[in-house]
Symmetry: C2
Subunit: 388 residues, 2 copies
């Protein structure tokens, strides 16, 4: 079995599949360094609930419920930390419009039986004293946590190696087809190696729709969605702990002027601020405007942020799909299995994706929670059916 | 002769002195990497004119007039570029208050016979089409140019080596005194080397007042003044030239909400945006607030800046003095010569400082333009005289 792509999705899929006794090769020039390098790592299916995405919500909740055990097992298997932190998430509203919108989200959460508690602005500030006085109210979602995407990638790579996954460090030059063109037989690496496989998992993130070799009808509808993030340190510029307690104790999320902003405080004192959403092709430049908007909006939410050291700016590419949901399982071409298109949810959906794709590879069946996400929902036949 | 400190001031002084036949050692752990690493390199004595600083203006003009020849000689001597660019400077006003202030500066410039031309907002935008519509007017100073501080440092280091300066790569642990304590005899390096010298030039930038060994009365009144800067690229995020001509063709300066902002466009497409002024001791952390303010103010001046890639954020320490002017020439202690305290003008004043200190070391006399800047203006006697 061949996995093309060594971001967290590819690595976790390789790990889970190798655990079941299959022989696995993973192809990536720099495994562990996918979009996870610039992910905030918020595990927030309930906080990030969107109307019309109830199936994605169920998938996210299923993955979130597995996360504590997944992280513990991964840490034991790799001997490395993952930064999993069951801290909860606070979503706040800055003005009356925000508050009305957040109230609606809360009502929808309640209809779905999801655990979320409405707080006044004062109650929000009691939980997070650095919040701006302008915060009007918020939603506390005690079950939405975080993990460190970078540590997750490093731990998954080590777990793969320990589980016997062969890591082939090169880029995929081409997906290989059988002479009749009717099935995928592996991939050709840029270093010239031909990696044959009965099953090839395409887990190449935002490049999953761009690797040569597949006929047009079998191409996956994945496009890059650029995100820029910042990393700050919650300490004085001299490195000492901040006076007056922690700067932020749980994930914080807000919509500022219509733009989603989140701040994820790591246990080690790092604060990740994200993220822009930009349709810019494969460009990964950090821009003056991206950094400016993140700092401006974060400052509006947490004025004290100006004092914090800015450690890093970065940009990465999310694999977007037409419905913002992942592509999981069999594709139109036998031998080619999808594990991609996770858009903003790649870190959250890592455990459930790896389990589902390992299930499919070993049993030929996807588990029920993953079944709605097969790529054939975008085939011309499916689209025709839907439009009737 | 020993030079303590290998920023551009120390290097240029060592180079000029070695050219006159003296045997020179320069002590620095990483020469060429002083505050010049984060300097914008604006050579703008006329644009940056301040009331009450006419002597500093004369020194700055003297240095500016030498810059073209200095850069040419340095490039020939080192075989390296300096990034000297005779582009002129445009100072602009964003609101009526700014304009009134800039008008006063212009009147003062005219009284002093300095070349500066008043432009309407429309004329400013004709010169620099990316300027915001809110620009109300400006001053074109055609004689204020720029140099690249990093290239300058690298070229000076190479010129020093070629001129026979011995580079001792270590930090100064202590200034050494004669047993009687009545004169300086060199310095002890952190690597344990004792570097004896008849004349020791203290050119340690913002650390010039903090190196152990000197009696309190001989300490130089130098403190660190932190500055944060940004480096952007004037190109599309894909690296192509911008459509519609250059983003900025000359140095741009403004006062935004009372804060001085400058944007220096290099010939190679880099755009330096500076700089904050912060009294934070020796802290050099880049902060969220520093970056935010620079981006906010730059965006107000040049809205199109949001599209530009942000390459780097940085912070450095200017050597500040009580009157913002440098300390040049003999100190209270025989054997110790000052070449420090250049505050915001280190790059500009490099040629005149090097010439003046080399003059002093070889003839015992400072040239007239440097004479007002000896450190004894801050001795208790001088202060008593001044307060009578």
């Amino acid at each position: 079995m061949l996995v093309v792509g060594g971001g967290v999705i590819g690595l976790a899929t390789a790990w889970r599949t190798a655990q079941r006794g299959l022989s696995v090769t993973l192809l990536d020039p720099d495994p562990g360094h996918g979009a996870n390098r610039v992910a905030a790592g918020m595990l927030a299916p309930v906080t990030e609930l969107q109307y019309g995405e109830e199936e994605l919500l169920r998938l996210g909740i299923a993955s979130n419920q597995r996360y504590a055990a997944f992280a513990a097992e991964l840490e034991a298997a790799s001997g490395l930390p993952t930064g999993y932190r069951p801290c909860g998430t606070l979503a706040v509203a800055l003005d009356a419009d925000d508050r009305a919108e957040l109230r609606e989200v809360h009502a929808f959460q309640q209809r779905l039986g999801l655990a979320a508690e409405w707080l006044t602005g004062r109650e929000c500030r009691r939980l997070e004293p650095m919040l701006a006085p302008s915060v009007r109210g918020g939603l506390l979602v005690s079950g939405d946590h975080q993990v460190d995407g970078r540590r997750l990638g490093a731990a998954l790579l080590e777990a793969c190696v320990r589980a016997g996954v062969r890591i082939h460090r090169s880029r995929a030059a081409r997906i290989e087809l059988a002479p009749a063109g009717d099935r995928v037989t592996g991939a050709l690496a840029e270093d010239g190696s031909a990696l044959g496989a009965g099953q090839t998992v395409l887990a190449a993130g935002s490049w999953s729709g761009a690797i040569p070799g597949l006929p047009a009808a079998a191409q996956l509808p994945v496009r890059p969605v650029k995100g820029q993030i910042l990393r700050l340190r919650m300490a004085t510029t001299a490195g000492a702990p901040l006076p007056g307690g922690p700067f932020l104790s749980r994930n914080l999320r807000a919509v500022v002027r219509g733009v989603h902003l989140y701040l994820v405080p790591r246990e080690d004192g790092e604060l990740v601020v994200g993220a822009t959403m930009e349709e810019q092709g494969y460009d990964t430049a950090v821009t003056a405007g991206g950094v400016y908007e993140l700092l401006r909006d974060a400052h509006e939410l947490l004025p004290g942020i100006t004092e914090l050291p800015l450690l890093e700016t970065g940009a990465g590419l999310r694999p977007g799909t037409p419905d913002n949901a992942p592509l999981l399982g069999p594709t139109a071409l036998p031998g080619l299995v999808a594990a991609t298109g996770h858009h903003r949810n790649g870190i959250l959906l890592t455990p459930v994706t790896a389990d589902a794709v390992a299930d499919y590879l070993t049993t030929g069946q996807l588990p029920p929670e993953a079944a709605p996400f097969t790529p054939d929902r975008f085939s011309s036949h499916a689209l025709t059916e839907a439009s009737r």
